[in-house]
Subunit: 251 residues, 2 copies
Protein backbone atom coordinates (compact mmCIF):
# COMPACT_ATOMS: atom_id res chain seq x y z
CA UNK A 1 0.00 0.00 0.00
CA UNK A 2 1.14 3.52 -0.72
CA UNK A 3 0.88 6.78 1.27
CA UNK A 4 -1.64 7.20 4.07
CA UNK A 5 -3.96 10.14 3.62
CA UNK A 6 -7.16 10.94 5.45
CA UNK A 7 -9.85 10.18 2.90
CA UNK A 8 -9.58 8.28 -0.37
CA UNK A 9 -12.73 7.88 -2.44
CA UNK A 10 -13.77 5.50 -5.19
CA UNK A 11 -16.61 4.56 -7.48
CA UNK A 12 -17.50 1.19 -9.01
CA UNK A 13 -18.67 1.02 -12.63
CA UNK A 14 -20.22 -2.29 -13.64
CA UNK A 15 -20.40 -2.71 -17.41
CA UNK A 16 -22.73 -5.27 -18.93
CA UNK A 17 -26.13 -5.87 -20.50
CA UNK A 18 -26.36 -9.14 -18.58
CA UNK A 19 -26.61 -7.31 -15.25
CA UNK A 20 -29.28 -4.87 -16.48
CA UNK A 21 -31.36 -7.68 -17.98
CA UNK A 22 -31.28 -9.46 -14.64
CA UNK A 23 -29.75 -12.56 -16.24
CA UNK A 24 -26.59 -12.26 -14.15
CA UNK A 25 -26.83 -10.99 -10.59
CA UNK A 26 -23.98 -8.61 -9.80
CA UNK A 27 -21.69 -9.77 -7.03
CA UNK A 28 -18.84 -7.37 -7.71
CA UNK A 29 -20.17 -4.12 -6.20
CA UNK A 30 -20.52 -5.64 -2.74
CA UNK A 31 -17.18 -7.42 -2.90
CA UNK A 32 -15.26 -4.36 -4.07
CA UNK A 33 -17.01 -2.10 -1.54
CA UNK A 34 -16.13 -4.36 1.37
CA UNK A 35 -12.57 -4.94 0.15
CA UNK A 36 -11.85 -1.25 -0.35
CA UNK A 37 -13.47 -0.25 2.96
CA UNK A 38 -11.05 -2.56 4.74
CA UNK A 39 -8.03 -0.77 3.24
CA UNK A 40 -9.37 2.73 3.81
CA UNK A 41 -10.82 3.52 0.38
CA UNK A 42 -14.44 4.73 0.65
CA UNK A 43 -16.76 3.70 -2.17
CA UNK A 44 -19.09 6.67 -2.66
CA UNK A 45 -21.07 5.63 -5.71
CA UNK A 46 -21.72 2.68 -8.00
CA UNK A 47 -23.25 2.54 -11.46
CA UNK A 48 -24.29 -0.19 -13.85
CA UNK A 49 -24.30 0.67 -17.56
CA UNK A 50 -24.99 -1.39 -20.71
CA UNK A 51 -22.52 -2.50 -23.41
CA UNK A 52 -22.89 0.78 -25.31
CA UNK A 53 -19.73 2.81 -25.88
CA UNK A 54 -21.23 6.27 -25.35
CA UNK A 55 -22.81 5.17 -22.07
CA UNK A 56 -19.54 3.73 -20.79
CA UNK A 57 -17.56 6.82 -21.81
CA UNK A 58 -20.06 9.21 -20.20
CA UNK A 59 -20.17 7.29 -16.93
CA UNK A 60 -16.37 6.93 -16.82
CA UNK A 61 -15.82 10.63 -17.36
CA UNK A 62 -18.41 11.59 -14.74
CA UNK A 63 -16.92 9.26 -12.14
CA UNK A 64 -13.18 9.64 -12.76
CA UNK A 65 -13.42 13.40 -12.36
CA UNK A 66 -15.21 13.08 -9.09
CA UNK A 67 -13.52 10.29 -7.15
CA UNK A 68 -9.93 9.31 -6.47
CA UNK A 69 -10.40 5.94 -8.19
CA UNK A 70 -12.87 4.23 -10.48
CA UNK A 71 -13.00 0.43 -10.60
CA UNK A 72 -14.71 -1.05 -13.64
CA UNK A 73 -15.83 -4.65 -14.06
CA UNK A 74 -16.81 -6.45 -17.25
CA UNK A 75 -16.36 -6.19 -21.00
CA UNK A 76 -12.68 -7.14 -21.40
CA UNK A 77 -13.09 -10.61 -22.91
CA UNK A 78 -12.55 -11.80 -26.49
CA UNK A 79 -16.04 -11.40 -27.97
CA UNK A 80 -17.65 -8.60 -29.99
CA UNK A 81 -19.64 -7.34 -26.97
CA UNK A 82 -16.41 -6.73 -25.00
CA UNK A 83 -15.89 -3.02 -25.66
CA UNK A 84 -14.59 -1.70 -22.35
CA UNK A 85 -10.94 -1.20 -23.38
CA UNK A 86 -11.93 0.85 -26.43
CA UNK A 87 -14.39 2.89 -24.37
CA UNK A 88 -11.72 3.63 -21.76
CA UNK A 89 -9.26 4.74 -24.45
CA UNK A 90 -11.94 7.03 -25.88
CA UNK A 91 -12.76 8.48 -22.45
CA UNK A 92 -9.08 9.32 -21.91
CA UNK A 93 -8.59 10.49 -25.51
CA UNK A 94 -5.69 8.09 -26.09
CA UNK A 95 -4.98 5.47 -28.73
CA UNK A 96 -5.35 1.74 -28.28
CA UNK A 97 -3.59 -1.18 -29.92
CA UNK A 98 -2.31 -4.69 -29.31
CA UNK A 99 0.12 -4.45 -26.41
CA UNK A 100 3.41 -6.36 -26.72
CA UNK A 101 3.48 -7.08 -22.97
CA UNK A 102 0.09 -8.74 -23.20
CA UNK A 103 1.02 -10.57 -26.37
CA UNK A 104 3.95 -12.08 -24.46
CA UNK A 105 1.61 -13.17 -21.63
CA UNK A 106 -0.87 -14.69 -24.07
CA UNK A 107 1.94 -16.59 -25.79
CA UNK A 108 2.68 -18.27 -22.45
CA UNK A 109 -0.77 -19.79 -22.70
CA UNK A 110 -1.43 -20.12 -26.43
CA UNK A 111 0.64 -21.04 -29.47
CA UNK A 112 0.88 -18.19 -31.95
CA UNK A 113 -1.36 -20.02 -34.45
CA UNK A 114 -4.03 -20.35 -31.74
CA UNK A 115 -4.05 -16.59 -31.08
CA UNK A 116 -7.26 -16.00 -33.00
CA UNK A 117 -8.31 -12.43 -33.77
CA UNK A 118 -10.79 -12.83 -30.87
CA UNK A 119 -7.97 -13.67 -28.45
CA UNK A 120 -5.82 -10.87 -29.85
CA UNK A 121 -8.72 -8.57 -29.00
CA UNK A 122 -7.82 -9.15 -25.36
CA UNK A 123 -4.33 -7.76 -26.00
CA UNK A 124 -5.73 -4.33 -26.91
CA UNK A 125 -4.72 -1.94 -24.13
CA UNK A 126 -5.02 1.87 -24.14
CA UNK A 127 -1.68 3.65 -24.61
CA UNK A 128 -0.01 4.56 -21.32
CA UNK A 129 -1.84 1.98 -19.21
CA UNK A 130 -0.20 -0.28 -16.63
CA UNK A 131 -1.23 -3.92 -16.62
CA UNK A 132 -3.11 -5.59 -13.77
CA UNK A 133 -2.18 -9.25 -13.40
CA UNK A 134 -4.68 -12.06 -13.94
CA UNK A 135 -3.32 -15.22 -12.35
CA UNK A 136 -6.37 -17.25 -13.36
CA UNK A 137 -6.74 -16.84 -17.11
CA UNK A 138 -3.72 -14.68 -18.12
CA UNK A 139 -5.49 -11.89 -20.07
CA UNK A 140 -4.78 -8.93 -17.78
CA UNK A 141 -6.77 -5.96 -16.58
CA UNK A 142 -5.16 -2.54 -16.71
CA UNK A 143 -4.91 0.79 -14.98
CA UNK A 144 -4.85 4.13 -16.74
CA UNK A 145 -4.82 7.30 -14.66
CA UNK A 146 -7.19 6.71 -11.77
CA UNK A 147 -9.25 4.05 -13.57
CA UNK A 148 -8.72 0.35 -12.84
CA UNK A 149 -10.25 -1.97 -15.45
CA UNK A 150 -11.06 -5.50 -14.33
CA UNK A 151 -12.87 -8.61 -15.57
CA UNK A 152 -16.54 -9.28 -14.85
CA UNK A 153 -16.21 -12.91 -13.76
CA UNK A 154 -16.03 -12.54 -9.95
CA UNK A 155 -13.12 -14.90 -9.30
CA UNK A 156 -11.00 -13.20 -11.98
CA UNK A 157 -12.03 -9.73 -10.81
CA UNK A 158 -10.98 -10.65 -7.29
CA UNK A 159 -7.40 -11.61 -8.20
CA UNK A 160 -7.13 -8.44 -10.29
CA UNK A 161 -8.32 -6.36 -7.32
CA UNK A 162 -5.63 -7.98 -5.16
CA UNK A 163 -3.05 -6.88 -7.70
CA UNK A 164 -4.40 -3.37 -8.20
CA UNK A 165 -4.80 -2.72 -4.48
CA UNK A 166 -1.01 -2.76 -4.03
CA UNK A 167 -0.74 0.38 -6.17
CA UNK A 168 -3.42 2.44 -4.42
CA UNK A 169 -3.02 5.28 -1.98
CA UNK A 170 -5.14 4.34 0.99
CA UNK A 171 -6.84 6.32 3.73
CA UNK A 172 -7.71 5.65 7.31
CA UNK A 173 -10.18 2.76 7.32
CA UNK A 174 -13.60 3.24 8.85
CA UNK A 175 -14.01 1.65 12.25
CA UNK A 176 -17.36 -0.12 12.21
CA UNK A 177 -19.34 -1.44 15.16
CA UNK A 178 -22.63 -3.31 14.92
CA UNK A 179 -25.12 -3.37 17.78
CA UNK A 180 -27.79 -6.08 17.76
CA UNK A 181 -31.03 -4.41 18.75
CA UNK A 182 -33.06 -7.59 19.00
CA UNK A 183 -36.82 -7.40 18.61
CA UNK A 184 -37.35 -3.71 19.51
CA UNK A 185 -38.99 -2.09 16.47
CA UNK A 186 -37.24 0.82 14.78
CA UNK A 187 -40.25 3.00 15.48
CA UNK A 188 -39.62 2.61 19.23
CA UNK A 189 -36.04 3.81 19.20
CA UNK A 190 -35.92 5.98 16.09
CA UNK A 191 -36.41 9.29 17.91
CA UNK A 192 -33.83 8.58 20.61
CA UNK A 193 -31.37 7.26 18.05
CA UNK A 194 -31.80 10.41 15.99
CA UNK A 195 -30.83 12.46 19.04
CA UNK A 196 -27.76 10.29 19.66
CA UNK A 197 -26.75 10.73 16.01
CA UNK A 198 -27.44 14.47 15.83
CA UNK A 199 -25.16 15.07 18.83
CA UNK A 200 -22.24 13.27 17.11
CA UNK A 201 -21.52 14.91 13.75
CA UNK A 202 -18.26 13.00 13.13
CA UNK A 203 -20.00 9.63 13.44
CA UNK A 204 -22.30 7.92 10.92
CA UNK A 205 -25.07 5.97 12.61
CA UNK A 206 -27.49 3.83 10.64
CA UNK A 207 -30.35 1.55 11.58
CA UNK A 208 -30.89 -1.49 9.36
CA UNK A 209 -33.90 -3.75 9.51
CA UNK A 210 -33.92 -7.17 7.95
CA UNK A 211 -36.93 -9.43 7.56
CA UNK A 212 -36.89 -13.20 7.81
CA UNK A 213 -39.32 -15.87 9.03
CA UNK A 214 -42.07 -13.25 9.34
CA UNK A 215 -40.10 -11.08 11.77
CA UNK A 216 -38.11 -7.89 11.56
CA UNK A 217 -34.74 -7.80 13.26
CA UNK A 218 -32.77 -4.58 13.58
CA UNK A 219 -29.11 -3.70 13.76
CA UNK A 220 -27.60 -0.31 14.51
CA UNK A 221 -24.28 0.33 12.80
CA UNK A 222 -21.84 2.99 14.04
CA UNK A 223 -19.03 4.13 11.72
CA UNK A 224 -16.21 6.65 11.98
CA UNK A 225 -12.54 6.91 11.12
CA UNK A 226 -11.96 7.70 14.81
CA UNK A 227 -12.14 4.55 16.97
CA UNK A 228 -12.65 6.55 20.19
CA UNK A 229 -15.71 8.27 18.68
CA UNK A 230 -17.13 4.89 17.66
CA UNK A 231 -16.67 3.54 21.18
CA UNK A 232 -18.29 6.61 22.74
CA UNK A 233 -21.23 6.52 20.32
CA UNK A 234 -21.74 2.77 20.88
CA UNK A 235 -21.94 3.38 24.63
CA UNK A 236 -24.52 6.10 24.03
CA UNK A 237 -26.58 3.80 21.78
CA UNK A 238 -26.45 0.96 24.32
CA UNK A 239 -27.54 3.31 27.13
CA UNK A 240 -30.39 4.56 24.95
CA UNK A 241 -31.52 1.00 24.17
CA UNK A 242 -31.33 0.04 27.84
CA UNK A 243 -33.69 2.88 28.75
CA UNK A 244 -36.13 1.78 26.05
CA UNK A 245 -35.96 -1.89 27.07
CA UNK A 246 -36.70 -0.95 30.68
CA UNK A 247 -39.70 1.03 29.47
CA UNK A 248 -40.88 -1.63 27.03
CA UNK A 249 -44.50 -2.61 27.23
CA UNK A 250 -46.34 -4.89 24.83
CA UNK A 251 -47.92 -2.93 21.97
CA UNK B 1 -50.88 -3.49 -16.94
CA UNK B 2 -51.53 -0.40 -19.02
CA UNK B 3 -51.03 0.37 -22.71
CA UNK B 4 -48.63 -1.65 -24.85
CA UNK B 5 -45.94 0.42 -26.52
CA UNK B 6 -42.77 -0.71 -28.21
CA UNK B 7 -40.05 0.26 -25.73
CA UNK B 8 -40.38 1.29 -22.10
CA UNK B 9 -37.19 2.11 -20.20
CA UNK B 10 -36.31 2.30 -16.53
CA UNK B 11 -33.47 2.95 -14.11
CA UNK B 12 -32.91 1.59 -10.61
CA UNK B 13 -31.60 3.90 -7.89
CA UNK B 14 -30.40 2.14 -4.75
CA UNK B 15 -30.10 4.51 -1.79
CA UNK B 16 -28.00 3.54 1.20
CA UNK B 17 -24.63 3.85 2.92
CA UNK B 18 -24.88 0.18 3.90
CA UNK B 19 -24.58 -0.94 0.26
CA UNK B 20 -21.59 1.30 -0.47
CA UNK B 21 -19.78 0.20 2.68
CA UNK B 22 -20.23 -3.42 1.61
CA UNK B 23 -22.03 -4.25 4.85
CA UNK B 24 -25.23 -5.15 3.03
CA UNK B 25 -25.02 -6.82 -0.38
CA UNK B 26 -27.62 -5.40 -2.75
CA UNK B 27 -30.16 -7.91 -3.99
CA UNK B 28 -32.68 -5.43 -5.35
CA UNK B 29 -31.04 -4.41 -8.66
CA UNK B 30 -31.04 -7.96 -10.00
CA UNK B 31 -34.55 -8.70 -8.78
CA UNK B 32 -36.04 -5.51 -10.23
CA UNK B 33 -34.17 -5.94 -13.53
CA UNK B 34 -35.44 -9.49 -14.01
CA UNK B 35 -38.99 -8.60 -12.92
CA UNK B 36 -39.26 -5.60 -15.23
CA UNK B 37 -37.69 -7.44 -18.18
CA UNK B 38 -40.45 -10.03 -17.91
CA UNK B 39 -43.17 -7.37 -18.27
CA UNK B 40 -41.45 -5.50 -21.08
CA UNK B 41 -39.74 -2.69 -19.17
CA UNK B 42 -36.04 -2.46 -20.04
CA UNK B 43 -33.69 -1.44 -17.22
CA UNK B 44 -31.01 0.68 -18.88
CA UNK B 45 -29.01 1.91 -15.90
CA UNK B 46 -28.61 1.42 -12.16
CA UNK B 47 -26.94 3.59 -9.55
CA UNK B 48 -26.10 3.27 -5.89
CA UNK B 49 -25.81 6.51 -3.88
CA UNK B 50 -25.22 7.24 -0.18
CA UNK B 51 -27.66 8.66 2.38
CA UNK B 52 -26.82 12.25 1.38
CA UNK B 53 -29.69 14.43 0.20
CA UNK B 54 -27.83 16.29 -2.55
CA UNK B 55 -26.56 13.01 -4.00
CA UNK B 56 -30.02 11.47 -4.05
CA UNK B 57 -31.58 14.58 -5.62
CA UNK B 58 -28.90 14.81 -8.32
CA UNK B 59 -29.18 11.13 -9.25
CA UNK B 60 -32.99 11.25 -9.26
CA UNK B 61 -33.07 14.27 -11.53
CA UNK B 62 -30.51 12.77 -13.91
CA UNK B 63 -32.40 9.48 -14.17
CA UNK B 64 -36.03 10.61 -14.18
CA UNK B 65 -35.38 12.93 -17.12
CA UNK B 66 -33.79 10.17 -19.10
CA UNK B 67 -35.89 7.03 -18.57
CA UNK B 68 -39.61 6.30 -18.53
CA UNK B 69 -39.45 5.13 -14.92
CA UNK B 70 -37.09 5.29 -11.95
CA UNK B 71 -37.40 2.72 -9.17
CA UNK B 72 -35.72 3.64 -5.89
CA UNK B 73 -35.02 1.31 -2.98
CA UNK B 74 -34.10 2.21 0.57
CA UNK B 75 -34.35 5.10 2.99
CA UNK B 76 -38.08 5.18 3.77
CA UNK B 77 -38.02 3.78 7.31
CA UNK B 78 -38.53 5.58 10.64
CA UNK B 79 -34.94 6.50 11.56
CA UNK B 80 -32.93 9.70 11.07
CA UNK B 81 -30.96 8.18 8.17
CA UNK B 82 -34.17 7.58 6.19
CA UNK B 83 -34.21 10.67 4.00
CA UNK B 84 -35.50 9.40 0.68
CA UNK B 85 -39.02 10.90 0.85
CA UNK B 86 -37.64 14.37 1.59
CA UNK B 87 -35.05 14.05 -1.19
CA UNK B 88 -37.74 13.01 -3.68
CA UNK B 89 -39.93 15.99 -2.69
CA UNK B 90 -36.93 18.26 -3.18
CA UNK B 91 -36.12 16.74 -6.58
CA UNK B 92 -39.69 17.37 -7.74
CA UNK B 93 -39.87 20.79 -6.07
CA UNK B 94 -43.00 19.89 -4.11
CA UNK B 95 -43.88 20.03 -0.42
CA UNK B 96 -43.99 17.09 1.93
CA UNK B 97 -46.01 16.44 5.07
CA UNK B 98 -47.71 13.71 7.07
CA UNK B 99 -50.24 12.12 4.74
CA UNK B 100 -53.73 11.40 6.14
CA UNK B 101 -54.05 8.24 4.02
CA UNK B 102 -50.86 6.85 5.54
CA UNK B 103 -51.85 7.94 9.05
CA UNK B 104 -55.03 5.88 8.61
CA UNK B 105 -52.98 2.85 7.53
CA UNK B 106 -50.60 3.23 10.44
CA UNK B 107 -53.52 3.47 12.86
CA UNK B 108 -54.62 0.02 11.67
CA UNK B 109 -51.37 -1.26 13.11
CA UNK B 110 -50.56 1.10 15.98
CA UNK B 111 -52.57 2.84 18.67
CA UNK B 112 -52.37 6.64 18.38
CA UNK B 113 -50.22 6.88 21.53
CA UNK B 114 -47.75 4.40 20.01
CA UNK B 115 -47.33 6.53 16.89
CA UNK B 116 -43.98 7.93 17.94
CA UNK B 117 -42.46 10.82 15.98
CA UNK B 118 -40.21 8.18 14.36
CA UNK B 119 -43.21 6.20 13.13
CA UNK B 120 -44.95 9.40 12.01
CA UNK B 121 -41.85 10.06 9.92
CA UNK B 122 -42.98 7.16 7.74
CA UNK B 123 -46.24 8.99 7.02
CA UNK B 124 -44.40 11.86 5.30
CA UNK B 125 -45.25 11.65 1.60
CA UNK B 126 -44.50 14.27 -1.09
CA UNK B 127 -47.59 16.23 -2.19
CA UNK B 128 -49.28 14.71 -5.20
CA UNK B 129 -47.88 11.21 -4.78
CA UNK B 130 -49.91 8.01 -5.07
CA UNK B 131 -49.30 5.36 -2.44
CA UNK B 132 -47.77 1.95 -3.16
CA UNK B 133 -49.14 -0.74 -0.86
CA UNK B 134 -46.97 -2.61 1.63
CA UNK B 135 -48.78 -5.78 2.69
CA UNK B 136 -45.93 -6.81 5.00
CA UNK B 137 -45.34 -3.89 7.35
CA UNK B 138 -48.02 -1.32 6.39
CA UNK B 139 -45.84 1.78 5.86
CA UNK B 140 -46.30 2.29 2.11
CA UNK B 141 -44.05 3.27 -0.73
CA UNK B 142 -45.21 5.91 -3.16
CA UNK B 143 -45.16 7.01 -6.74
CA UNK B 144 -44.75 10.59 -7.89
CA UNK B 145 -44.52 11.33 -11.60
CA UNK B 146 -42.37 8.59 -13.09
CA UNK B 147 -40.55 7.78 -9.84
CA UNK B 148 -41.55 4.74 -7.76
CA UNK B 149 -40.16 4.82 -4.21
CA UNK B 150 -39.83 1.47 -2.43
CA UNK B 151 -38.35 -0.01 0.74
CA UNK B 152 -34.82 -1.42 0.89
CA UNK B 153 -35.64 -4.68 2.70
CA UNK B 154 -35.96 -7.10 -0.25
CA UNK B 155 -39.16 -8.86 0.83
CA UNK B 156 -40.92 -5.52 1.39
CA UNK B 157 -39.56 -4.07 -1.85
CA UNK B 158 -40.88 -7.10 -3.72
CA UNK B 159 -44.49 -6.69 -2.58
CA UNK B 160 -44.29 -2.98 -3.38
CA UNK B 161 -43.01 -3.78 -6.87
CA UNK B 162 -45.97 -6.13 -7.38
CA UNK B 163 -48.28 -3.25 -6.51
CA UNK B 164 -46.50 -0.62 -8.57
CA UNK B 165 -46.22 -2.87 -11.63
CA UNK B 166 -50.01 -2.76 -12.12
CA UNK B 167 -49.79 0.98 -12.83
CA UNK B 168 -46.98 0.85 -15.40
CA UNK B 169 -47.16 1.14 -19.13
CA UNK B 170 -45.32 -1.88 -20.46
CA UNK B 171 -43.54 -2.64 -23.70
CA UNK B 172 -42.93 -5.76 -25.70
CA UNK B 173 -40.82 -8.06 -23.51
CA UNK B 174 -37.45 -9.22 -24.75
CA UNK B 175 -37.41 -12.80 -25.98
CA UNK B 176 -34.28 -14.37 -24.53
CA UNK B 177 -32.63 -17.63 -25.56
CA UNK B 178 -29.57 -19.14 -23.90
CA UNK B 179 -27.25 -21.49 -25.75
CA UNK B 180 -24.93 -23.68 -23.66
CA UNK B 181 -21.57 -23.62 -25.39
CA UNK B 182 -19.93 -26.21 -23.20
CA UNK B 183 -16.15 -26.27 -22.89
CA UNK B 184 -15.26 -24.40 -26.13
CA UNK B 185 -13.27 -21.31 -25.07
CA UNK B 186 -14.60 -17.88 -26.05
CA UNK B 187 -11.40 -17.22 -27.96
CA UNK B 188 -12.25 -20.09 -30.32
CA UNK B 189 -15.66 -18.82 -31.34
CA UNK B 190 -15.38 -15.08 -30.69
CA UNK B 191 -14.60 -14.14 -34.30
CA UNK B 192 -17.35 -16.26 -35.81
CA UNK B 193 -19.82 -15.07 -33.19
CA UNK B 194 -18.92 -11.46 -33.97
CA UNK B 195 -19.82 -12.09 -37.61
CA UNK B 196 -23.14 -13.68 -36.66
CA UNK B 197 -23.91 -10.66 -34.46
CA UNK B 198 -22.79 -8.03 -36.97
CA UNK B 199 -25.12 -9.48 -39.60
CA UNK B 200 -28.13 -9.16 -37.26
CA UNK B 201 -28.50 -5.54 -36.10
CA UNK B 202 -31.92 -6.04 -34.45
CA UNK B 203 -30.60 -8.80 -32.20
CA UNK B 204 -28.39 -8.46 -29.12
CA UNK B 205 -25.95 -11.34 -28.78
CA UNK B 206 -23.69 -11.71 -25.75
CA UNK B 207 -21.17 -14.29 -24.65
CA UNK B 208 -20.88 -14.88 -20.91
CA UNK B 209 -18.17 -16.90 -19.25
CA UNK B 210 -18.46 -18.16 -15.72
CA UNK B 211 -15.73 -19.82 -13.71
CA UNK B 212 -16.23 -22.60 -11.19
CA UNK B 213 -14.18 -25.59 -10.03
CA UNK B 214 -11.19 -24.31 -11.95
CA UNK B 215 -12.99 -24.32 -15.31
CA UNK B 216 -14.57 -21.72 -17.54
CA UNK B 217 -17.99 -22.48 -18.96
CA UNK B 218 -19.60 -20.25 -21.57
CA UNK B 219 -23.12 -19.33 -22.50
CA UNK B 220 -24.27 -17.35 -25.52
CA UNK B 221 -27.40 -15.30 -24.94
CA UNK B 222 -29.56 -14.05 -27.81
CA UNK B 223 -32.10 -11.28 -27.13
CA UNK B 224 -34.62 -9.39 -29.25
CA UNK B 225 -38.19 -8.16 -29.00
CA UNK B 226 -38.86 -10.18 -32.17
CA UNK B 227 -39.16 -13.92 -31.45
CA UNK B 228 -38.57 -14.89 -35.09
CA UNK B 229 -35.28 -12.98 -35.12
CA UNK B 230 -34.20 -14.77 -31.93
CA UNK B 231 -35.01 -18.16 -33.46
CA UNK B 232 -33.11 -17.33 -36.66
CA UNK B 233 -30.09 -16.01 -34.73
CA UNK B 234 -30.04 -19.08 -32.46
CA UNK B 235 -29.98 -21.34 -35.49
CA UNK B 236 -27.06 -19.33 -36.89
CA UNK B 237 -25.18 -19.56 -33.58
CA UNK B 238 -25.79 -23.31 -33.35
CA UNK B 239 -24.56 -23.82 -36.92
CA UNK B 240 -21.47 -21.74 -36.16
CA UNK B 241 -20.73 -23.79 -33.03
CA UNK B 242 -21.21 -27.04 -34.93
CA UNK B 243 -18.60 -25.99 -37.46
CA UNK B 244 -16.19 -25.12 -34.67
CA UNK B 245 -16.83 -28.36 -32.77
CA UNK B 246 -16.17 -30.37 -35.93
CA UNK B 247 -12.90 -28.52 -36.33
CA UNK B 248 -11.93 -28.76 -32.68
CA UNK B 249 -8.48 -30.01 -31.93
CA UNK B 250 -6.81 -30.04 -28.50
CA UNK B 251 -4.84 -26.84 -27.81
Amino acid sequence: MGDKVETVTAAVLVIGDEILSGRTKDKNIGYIAEYLAAIGVDVREARVVPDIEDEIVAALNALRGRYDYVFTTGGIGPTHDDITADAVAKAFGVGIDEDPRVMAMMLERYKLEDLTPARRRMTRIPFGADLVENSISKAPGFRIGNVIVMAGVPSVMQVMLDGAAKTLKTGVPMVVATIEVGPIPEGRYGDALGEVAAARPGVIIGSYPSFADGKFRNQIVVRSKDAAKVAEACAAVEAMLQTIRADLKPL
